[in-house]
């Protein structure tokens, strides 16, 4: 069986205030497409598979994008799983390459989100949100995750000063990522003094909304060198939204057995950071141990969310679920700050159906 690799990865630079005339969702996705193929050294004519996730591409779909990008494909995928979509598409693309359904697949994720577009997105996220959350005096998922973080505080005994260590550490990493929208140092004192969005969350616990796109090129190992996918596992709708949101379901999937690895083997990690508490929830689910020990490792420079994470690099809508894959490929190729990294973990999380995310995904990559 052919083995699949990630041969290219790229990001169309994130911006906080894009020009609404010259920057569209399509232009961002096209820019990431061109950059990823260039990074793989693969010509557009070789592309025979295309996958896309975007909240704002509608009414267009993947087939419209294939037309507009000028690629004739025999494998096509539209994905709507938000922060888990990048890894979900990668799971399908790897199988398609292995099965011979396609030979070179480009996966795209991105959104242009002007202020009004973001408001429309969060109010119309799904029917449950439209009916029962949008009429409340809130703006998007921050309130749900304020309530969730309170539950996490109750379960772990952590305080605001503990959660703040995550955005502070990630900001240190962001200084080494020229594409991060926030790169200036952040101190814990500044974090604790920042305006509250919804108790206990402050401004630095909530991702800055940006516009941008990410792309991966997946092909067979005999066509191009690349990053190997050791294993992917996903968990969708693990508890029907009837739990406390402090478990993603990733504890019940056999990621480590499938990857023939253990948490201690991981050289760097990118864990979906829509909120600091969710970083700790996912790491706990995946067996990385006690929260306080983890925070000590994060303080000490453990390579976690080395792009700065979404908290510093920004969240470009659906691109948030592919940003970590692109960042980890950059690091495993030796193009980032982490030296001699071989095994990496990337997670995705998202699709808040009512009270918390219902989609979780994790992948172990080998450089």
């Amino acid at each position: 069986m052919t083995s699949a690799v990630i041969a290219g990865a790229a990001e169309s630079p994130y911006t906080r205030h894009p020009d609404p005339v010259t920057t569209t969702t399509e232009s961002l996705l096209a820019d990431a497409f061109v950059r990823a193929l260039a990074s793989a050294g693969i010509d557009r004519a070789a592309v025979d598979g295309l996958g896309v996730t975007s909240f704002t591409l509608a009414p267009d779909h993947a087939i419209d994008l294939a037309w507009r990008l000028g690629v004739r494909v025999r494998w096509l995928m539209d994905d709507a799983n938000g922060g888990a979509a990048g890894i979900n598409m990668l799971q399908h693309a790897v199988r398609a390459i292995e099965a011979g359904d396609a030979s070179t697949i480009v996966l795209l994720a991105g959104d242009r989100l002007l202020r009004d577009e973001f408001a429309a997105l969060v109010d119309g996220y799904n029917r449950a949100t439209q009916a029962y959350l949008a009429p409340l005096p809130i703006d998007g998922p921050n309130t749900d995750f304020a309530l969730l973080t309170q539950r996490h505080m109750g379960a772990t005994g952590l305080t605001r000063a503990d959660y703040g260590r995550i955005p502070v550490a990630q900001r240190r990493w962001a200084a080494g990522n020229p594409l991060a929208v926030y790169r200036e140092p952040l101190t814990l004192e500044e974090y604790l003094a920042a305006p509250i969005v919804a108790e206990p969350l402050c401004r630095y616990d909530c991702v800055p909304v940006v516009s941008g796109a990410d792309a991966l090129v997946v092909t067979s190992a005999d066509r191009a060198p690349g990053i190997r996918v050791r294993a992917i596992r996903t968990s969708y709708n693990p508890d029907g939204q009837e739990g406390d949101g402090l478990h993603t379901g990733l504890a019940e999937v056999d990621l480590w057995d499938a990857a023939d690895a253990a948490p201690g083997d991981i050289d760097l990690a990118w864990v979906y950071d829509d909120y600091p508490a969710m970083v700790l929830v996912q790491l706990a689910d995946l067996g990385f141990g006690d929260e306080r020990r983890l925070l000590e490792r994060i303080d000490a420079g453990w390579p976690l969310n080395t792009s700065g994470g979404q908290l510093s690099a920004g969240q470009a809508g659906a691109a948030g679920g592919m940003h970590g894959l692109v960042e980890v490929v950059r690091q495993l190729r030796g193009e980032g700050q982490v030296v001699n990294a071989r095994l990496a973990l990337v997670t995705g999380y998202g699709m808040v159906l009512y009270r918390y995310g219902a989609c979780a995904a994790a992948v172990v990559l080998e450089g």
Binding site: A128, A131, Y132, L133, P135, L136, P137, I138, D139, N142, T143, D144, A146, L147, Q150, R151, P195, I196, V197, A198, E199, P200, G240, E242, Y354, R355
Partner: protein, 90 residues
């Protein structure tokens, strides 16, 4: 203001928001019942001005509701005001 209604299946399993099939028994035979009392387990105040609670109903479901003047841990009833759940003192 009416009491918030939740969905109850033919076998008495309560959910909120509504589902197509009952997650427990697979029933598609739903009717609505008043939500009944619950406890405001967590409460936050959003900068947009709203005080919001996660309310665990005695009947099972957890509801995200507007909760002006409600303290964490307090017993509440849920009303339906313009489609938005609102926690009030019973």
């Amino acid at each position: 203001m009416n009491e918030l209604l939740i969905s109850v299946c033919a076998n008495g399993h309560a959910v909120f928001p509504p589902r197509a099939l009952c997650p427990r028994c697979g029933s598609r035979d739903w009717h609505e019942e008043p939500a009944g009392p619950g406890t405001a387990e967590q409460v936050t105040t959003h900068r947009a001005g709203g005080r919001i609670a996660s309310v665990a109903l005695d009947s099972g479901p957890t509801v995200v509701a507007r909760a002006d003047g409600i303290e964490p841990g307090s017993r509440v009833a849920l009303t339906d005001r313009d489609g938005a759940p609102r926690a009030v003192r019973p």
